[in-house]
């Protein structure tokens, strides 16, 4: 079972993930329209790209925007979860072993203490995001079962992986759960809100372009104060 999941199934998952998200990104860009969006993308591409990069960069920096600074609880939960969600799948030793088996080389790996800490922090981050959904009326009104599903499936690989790592209960069971949920995330990503993995960059970048090309970019000395 585990051999299948870390073999052909992993390949399928990765293919769907990277292929699907690439398609989403391409479709997004192809669907942009200077007339409908009322943004003259092409004639002001350089200015627009500067705005896009600035807009994305600000939001990737903890405390980089007014929004993050005004909502520290959300910011902490968000960054704890997302830092783990990016670093752990890529640089965990065990994941690198899989890459080495497949390609014969591997990327640098996280020391196990750091990986453990990141995992715990990511789970705490996910928990904080969940608390907001329950505790804050302005978030509760927006929250649907779909949102809970996305949050659940995103946090699941960290929880199951960590249980397996600690050898609590049946190792094989938890490892299988970890791989299954991890692959589920990969496969679902292009078809669900998880597509924000790439569409965040597209959408955030688009608004950065919008502000820089049309809404005063050339009039501002520095870039838009996100």
């Amino acid at each position: 079972m585990i051999a299948f999941l870390t073999g052909p199934m992993l390949w399928v998952s990765l293919l769907v993930f990277f292929g699907g998200l690439t398609v989403r990104a391409v479709l997004y860009v192809r669907g942009l329209s200077w007339k409908l969006d009322r943004v003259a993308y092409k004639p002001h591409m350089a200015l627009g790209m500067r705005g896009a990069i600035h807009s994305i960069r600000c939001w990737l920096i903890p405390g980089g925007t007014y929004g993050w600074r005004q909502q520290p609880f959300m910011a902490v939960g968000f960054f704890l979860f997302h830092i783990g969600a990016i670093l752990l799948p890529l640089f965990l030793l065990a994941h690198q072993e899989l890459i080495k088996m497949a390609f014969g080389f591997s990327l640098p790996t996280l020391p196990s203490g750091v990986a453990d800490a990141l995992t715990v922090l990511a789970i705490i981050g996910g928990f904080m995001l969940a608390i907001r959904r329950i505790a804050l009326p302005e978030v509760r009104i927006l929250t649907t079962p779909y949102d809970w599903f996305i949050l659940g499936i995103s946090v699941a690989p960290f929880v199951t992986g960590f249980i397996a790592r600690l050898h609590l209960g049946n190792y094989d069971f938890w490892l299988t759960c970890h791989i299954l949920t991890g692959e589920a995330v990969l496969i679902l990503a292009p078809f669900t809100k998880l597509s924000h993995i790439v569409l965040f960059f597209m959408s955030r970048g688009q608004l950065g372009m919008d502000y820089n090309i049309k809404r005063g970019g050339a009039k501002r000395e520095t870039a838009f104060p996100w």
Partner: protein, 461 residues
């Protein structure tokens, strides 16, 4: 009843229709008819298919429902943090549903959308700044207004407003004759006090073509005279066009895109005919948004720019003060604490915060910022058409409390509001809440403060 006499899908096309609609006081019959109006689901589905593309679809899809937009919305804050005022909720429960159901919605749903689109969002675009994904709900509400308008679901005053543009090429019933008469009248009226004062009409190749808000010739003609005096003082070579002088666009608030195009093209035609070096618009926010920022796209201009450099009045004032074209008498600078209203339409949406601050540095000794300010400032409370819709007066008055409290916190009794909509909202908030403030455009203040060069002075008696 599919189509009402007043409330229907046919845009106003004649003066008679417009007058008849105006005769329906407060839209009493109009709103009754709206309750019976048919919803053409196929037409909505087709419109969504054609116009709801990548950007908006992605916005609707990836919204993480995180609620970070809540606090960015002044209407959410001022309405006791009502969760139904969370921007994401407002748009998901209206446009989101419309898209999900592919236009198969009821009349009641459409009327609910009208209420939300025109009384719960002023299209100030602040939420987009606070959304991690960059989801701009102001843009989406403007888009929703267009869809509602196409089905005849639009507040009475908005239908009148865009009807005015369709009939008179102006937001009010100001004909070309009225306009020219007003220019001549104002030039004559003020010539005695300002020898040599002119309001040149249709002068070709001037340095400046001036465009304005129809309210000025209609109700505040002295504003036009003040603009003329300031150009006169600055020694500018300027003109106004006989047609294409109206810069505003109530049709933008109404979501009547065809009327928007007609209106803005009349201005662009004037620019092309008179070939000014640049165009300057009056102290109005939405006029700037309509003609300088959005207009090029309505007119199908691929570079997204008007036919000539087109600046806001505050940019010209900042320049005139900087270059010394207009000099301020230091004795006459504003001594009392004074604050400034940032118009969403040209500050958040066109980066002019610096220009207004530069002006304040020349004219005010104790300038105090509102908090928050610049790009992050709150809407005056009456933007996006909110000021003008009788049905939502109660909600609008509630919304004014945001600006009231911002002004009170500065301790200032004088508010400079270089925007018609903001100016109105601040006037109304004083009327409603009586906090003892005064409000002003820049023009009258500048005239009081400017040093009159010797050659322009009245000859001594």
């Amino acid at each position: 009843m599919p189509q009402g006499t007043f409330c229907n899908t046919t845009p106003i096309s004649s003066e008679e229709e417009l007058k008849a609609l105006l005769g329906d006081k407060g839209g009493a019959q109009y709103y009754e008819e709206m309750k019976e109006l048919d919803v053409n689901s196929d037409a909505i589905a087709k419109l969504l298919e054609d116009t709801c593309q990548s950007r908006i679809r992605t916005w609707l899809e990836i919204c993480a429902h995180c609620g970070m937009c809540a606090d960015s919305c002044f209407l959410y804050r001022v309405n006791d943090r009502d969760p139904k005022q969370v921007p994401a909720y407002k748009i998901q429960s209206t446009l989101g549903e419309l898209v999900k159901k592919k236009g198969k919605v009821t009349n009641e749903f459409m009327r609910h959308c009208v209420d939300v689109a025109w009384s719960q969002c002023t299209c100030c675009n602040r939420c987009g700044m606070y959304c991690p994904h960059g989801i701009d709900m102001g843009v989406m509400f403007s888009y929703l207004r267009g869809i509602l308008n196409s089905q005849g679901f639009v507040p009475w005053e908005m239908k009148i407003g865009s009807g005015m543009h369709r009939v008179y090429n102006a937001q009010m019933d100001v004909t070309t004759e009225d306009w020219i008469d007003t220019c001549e009248w104002m030039a004559e009226e003020y010539e005695e006090e300002w020898p040599g004062l002119e309001i040149p009409i249709d002068k070709e190749d001037a340095d400046i073509m001036y465009t304005l808000n129809a309210r000025e010739p209609k109700h505040y003609p002295e504003d036009l005279a003040e603009a003329a005096i300031l150009f006169h003082l600055a020694g500018e070579n300027w003109t106004v066009p006989s047609t294409g002088w109206e810069q505003t666009s109530l049709s933008m608030f109404a979501g009547d895109w065809a009327a928007c195009k007609m209106q803005v093209e009349s201005v662009y035609n004037a620019i092309e005919k008179l070939r000014p070096k640049r165009v300057i618009g009056t102290e109005c926010g939405h006029a700037h948004r309509a003609t300088v920022i959005e207009g090029p796209y309505w007119a199908g201009r691929e570079d997204g720019l008007p036919p000539a450099p087109y600046i806001h009045y505050v940019e010209w004032v900042a320049e005139a003060l900087r270059t010394g074209k207009i000099k301020i008498d230091p004795e006459k600078k504003i001594k009392e604490p004074v604050t400034l209203q940032d118009s969403c339409n040209y500050v958040r949406n066109h980066g002019l915060a610096k220009a207004t601050r530069e002006i304040m540095s020349y004219i005010a000794e104790d300038f105090r910022e509102m908090g928050p300010n610049r790009e992050h400032n709150y809407c005056c409370g009456g933007g996006g058409g909110f000021n003008g819709i009788g049905k939502y007066r109660k909600e609008r008055n509630k919304a004014l409390q945001t600006k009231r409290d911002q002004i009170l916190a500065t301790g200032c009794k004088l508010v400079i509001a270089p925007c018609h909509n903001c100016w109105d909202a601040i006037r109304d908030l004083e009327e409603e809440y009586e906090i003892g403030i005064r409000w002003s455009f820049l023009k009258p203040l500048l005239i009081k403060m400017a040093i009159v060069p010797d050659h322009l002075k009245l000859p001594e008696e």
